[in-house]
C-alpha cells in the first residue's frame, strides 16, 4: 500500500541479471507495501531466477516480445489482480524508487504520471541527434497532451485504473511505440497526463541500448513514429 492504494511495480527486463536483484531489493526496501512483478522477456541469462530469488513475482515470456509486449503483459496482470496503480520501472537501476510516492500522489488528479528528466532535478545530459530527437518529441507531445513534457521516452511511469484498463488491451510493441505512441493515444482519449521531475542514475550493469552511432537513425525513426502516431486514430 502507498497512500492507501494497492500498487504494482512492473519491471520489464531483458538480460539484466547483473542489476535486477539490486533493483528488486531496493524497491522492496524503500516501498515495503508494494508488489513487484518482473516480466522477463525471453532473457538468455538468469534474470528470471535472480529476480524470483530477490522476492519478485516473475512472469517469464516464452520469447522476446519487446518492451511493449512485456508491459502489456504487466498491465494485464495489474488489471486481473485488481491493482489501483501500476508503475513501470527499468531493470537497469536508473530509476530511483524513492520517487514512487511522489508519482502516486499525482494520480489523484491525473491518469498517467511520467517521471521525467530535464525538469529541474538531476543532471542527466544528452547531446547531438539524440538530443534533437528528444526536443522534437517533447515539443510535439507537450502540445498534444496539453502539458509540459520534457522526457517523453522515460520508462518511469505510473498509471491509474483507467489507464491500466486501456493498456491491458492496447499497448503497442513497435519501436518507440511503448513511449511515444502510448502518450499520443492516451492524450487523444482524454486522459490527463502530467510529469514529475526526477533525477535518474547511471545504469548499474550491462550495456546501454543506444550507441552514439545509432543516434542519427534514432532521430529519423523518432520522426517517423511520431508522424505515424499523429495520423493514426
Amino acid at each position: 500500500m502507498v497512500n492507501g492504494k494497492r500498487v504494482l511495480i512492473i519491471i520489464p527486463a531483458l538480460n539484466e541479471s547483473g542489476s535486477i536483484a539490486e533493483v528488486v531489493h531496493e524497491v522492496r526496501g524503500e516501498l515495503p507495501g508494494v508488489d513487484v512483478l518482473v516480466v522477463d522477456d525471453g532473457s538468455t541469462d538468469r534474470t528470471a531466477a535472480v529476480a524470483a530469488a530477490a522476492g519478485a513475482r516473475v512472469a517469464k515470456l516464452p520469447y522476446n516480445l519487446g518492451v511493449g509486449g512485456a508491459m502489456r503483459c504487466g498491465y494485464r496482470y495489474a488489471r486481473d489482480h485488481d491493482y489501483d496503480v501500476a508503475i513501470q520501472i527499468d531493470a537497469d537501476g536508473q530509476h530511483d524508487p524513492r520517487y514512487v510516492p511522489k508519482l502516486v500522489d499525482q494520480l489523484d488528479e491525473t491518469d498517467l504520471v511520467i517521471g521525467a528528466r530535464f525538469a529541474g532535478e538531476g543532471d542527466y545530459n544528452v547531446r547531438g541527434p539524440r538530443r534533437w530527437a528528444m526536443v522534437m518529441l517533447s515539443g510535439v507531445l507537450s502540445r498534444v497532451a496539453h502539458t509540459k513534457l520534457t522526457d517523453t521516452t522515460s520508462g518511469f511511469r505510473a498509471a491509474n485504473r483507467r489507464v491500466i484498463d486501456m493498456f491491458a488491451t492496447w499497448y503497442p510493441v513497435e519501436y518507440l511505440g511503448d513511449t511515444v505512441e502510448t502518450l499520443v493515444h492516451t492524450a487523444r482519449r482524454g486522459y490527463k497526463i502530467r510529469q514529475v521531475p526526477v533525477a535518474m542514475r547511471k545504469r548499474m550493469a550491462g550495456t546501454p541500448s543506444h550507441s552514439p552511432a545509432k543516434a542519427m537513425i534514432y532521430l529519423g525513426r523518432a520522426f517517423a513514429v511520431l508522424t505515424l502516431a499523429l495520423i493514426r486514430r
Binding site: P62, Y63, E174, Y175, G177, V225, I231, R232, R233
Partner: protein, 123 residues
Amino acid sequence: MKLTLVTGLTGLILLATIVELLRRRQLREKYGMLWLGVLVIVIPLSLFPRLLDNVAELLGVASGVSLVLFLGIVFLLLVCVHLSWEVSHLEEETRTLAEDFALLRAQIDADRAARDELVSHDG
C-alpha cells in the same frame, strides 16, 4: 498521356490504401514504412516513365521502362523471401508456445496428482 493517367492514378490509389491501413492500425509500422517508401519511388515514375532512361542507358538496358520492370520483379522477389522468413519465424514461435503450454499442463497435472494423493492419505 492516357497511360500516364492510368499509372499515376493506380499509384495514388495504392498510396491512399496504405495510409488508410496504417491509420486503422491494420499494418505494422515496419511494413507500412516499406510500402510508403516504395510508393515514393513508384509514383514519380508512373507520372514520368522516362525518368530512368539515362540510368538505363548507363546500365545497357534499352529503355527506362524495362529497367523499372526488372527492378520491380527483383523487389517483389525480395518481399516474398522476407515474408517466408517472417512465416518461418512465426512457426518457430508457435512451436515454442505449444511446448510451453504442454509443459505447463504437465506441471499442473503433476501438482494435482500430488494433492489428490495427500488428500487420500489424510482421509
